[in-house]
Each structure stands twice: as C-alpha cells, then as structure tokens.
C-alpha cells in the first residue's frame, strides 16, 4: 500500500522558499515516480527529472499527460548526466544525494 506523502505540502513550501523555479530551468535528481516533480511542474520554463530506476520512471511517464510539455523524465544516474555544462538554474537533489 502506497502512503499518502506529505499532504501538508511542507516539502513544496520549503523548496519554493529556497530558490526561484518560476520560468527557470530545473533539474530534479532522483525524481523517482515524479510525485514531487508534479507538484511544481507548472512553474519552470524547463523541468527535467532524472532517476536510474526504470520502473519508477515508467510510472512517472504514465502521468505525463498531467504535466506541461516542458517537463521531461529521463533515465540517468547523478554521476553521469546527459546535459551540457551550465544549462540549469536550479539543481535539486531530491532525497537522492
């Protein structure tokens, strides 16, 4: 049984108070099934979630119709990211460091 995760929204409130994601390019490392990603997906200009777990990413992508087209999920590990240098304004280690 999957739990209800942070229904109070504490994680989102603290994250948004710590950085500017609106119209920014954001990378979320360790996005898992995208449960947190979806909470702020409407704000950035570009949002990429990466995770090494294929099953979690599959679940994230199944929810993709709920996400804006500027949000993407990619299978990758934190130690070897398929992105150019300096492209993100915000990089989030989401319980993944």
């Amino acid at each position: 049984m999957k739990p209800q995760r942070d229904p109070e929204g504490a994680e989102l409130v603290h994250f948004l108070s710590a950085c500017t994601v609106t119209r920014a390019k954001v990378l979320e490392i360790g996005c898992g099934n995208g449960v947190f990603t979806r909470q702020y997906a409407g704000l950035p200009a570009l949002l990429v979630g990466i995770d090494p777990n294929a099953a979690e990413l599959r679940e994230a992508r199944q929810q993709q119709p709920d996400l804006p087209p500027k949000a993407h999920f990619t299978r990758a590990i934190a130690e070897a990211q398929p992105f150019s240098q300096g492209v993100f304004d915000v990089v989030l280690f989401a319980s993944s460091f």
Partner: protein, 137 residues
C-alpha cells in the same frame, strides 16, 4: 565523476543547488484519530547514517573549497500517512527496508492502538527533513 561534481557541472554560474533529504533521527509513529494522536513509539532511521554523514562531508568540502556557498539551512517535519497498520508494514517491507527499522514493539503497539480506535484511525510517520541551499560560485 562524483554526483556533486556532476551537478555543479550542469548548474549555471550563480545557479542554486538544493539538497533535500531526510535526517537520520528516529521518527515518531503515531495513530491518528479524530480525538488526536497516539504515539506507538519511534522508528529507527539510522541505517542510512553513514551515507548521510558522507553526503554532509562532501558538501562541507565543496563549501570549504569555495565551489559552493551555503545560503540556506532549515529543517521541517514531513509526514507519510497510511490507511492501515498492515499497509504501513507492507510498504516498509517493500520500499523502506534499507532505510528504516520498524521495531517489533512499536509495530505491536501500533496494531493495538489502531484496533482500539477502529475505522477512523490512520497511521502517520513524521520524518525530519533538512533542506540546504547553495549558490554556485
């Protein structure tokens, strides 16, 4: 390449790096009812402590080297809710077994409290989270 080095590589100059993760301190497990919360005891969150300390040290080294500047540090509560104790136990066995230890006595007490409070009861685990924000130098 280390994860932090790689994160810094893709981060823009003056960009913000956020490290958001649970702290390895015991987490209260509670049975919630319309009348209030009832403590079942503490869940041991220490299995990840070596990784946690290593991660802390990696960030400290980056700050000491001048690669990152810490701009924010805060802690807050973060809760998971389950509809039943059995559901919580199954979830622990499925996804949390490397991260937390649910002591047998705490599980027993949770079951007893849950049974006593019936259909209105829910299970809550309150984890302490830490958010650290850094500015890329």
């Amino acid at each position: 390449m280390h994860a932090l080095q790689e994160a810094r590589r893709v981060l823009a100059p003056a960009g913000t790096l956020i490290d958001l993760r649970p702290i390895c301190v015991d987490a209260p497990l509670e049975i919630l009812t319309p009348q209030g919360s009832h403590s079942a005891g503490l869940v041991d969150m220490s299995p990840d402590i070596a990784d946690d300390i290593a991660a802390d040290n990696t960030f400290k080294e980056a700050v000491a080297a001048g690669s990152l500047k810490q701009v924010k540090l805060e802690e807050f509560d973060f809760a998971y809710y389950w509809e039943t104790v059995d559901g919580m136990k199954a979830d622990f066995e499925d996804r949390w077994k490397d991260d937390a230890i649910l002591p047998a006595g705490v599980l027993r007490k949770a079951r007893r409290l849950f049974k006593a409070h019936g259909l209105d009861a829910r299970v809550r685990l309150r984890i302490r989270m830490r958010l650290s924000a850094y500015r890329q130098a």
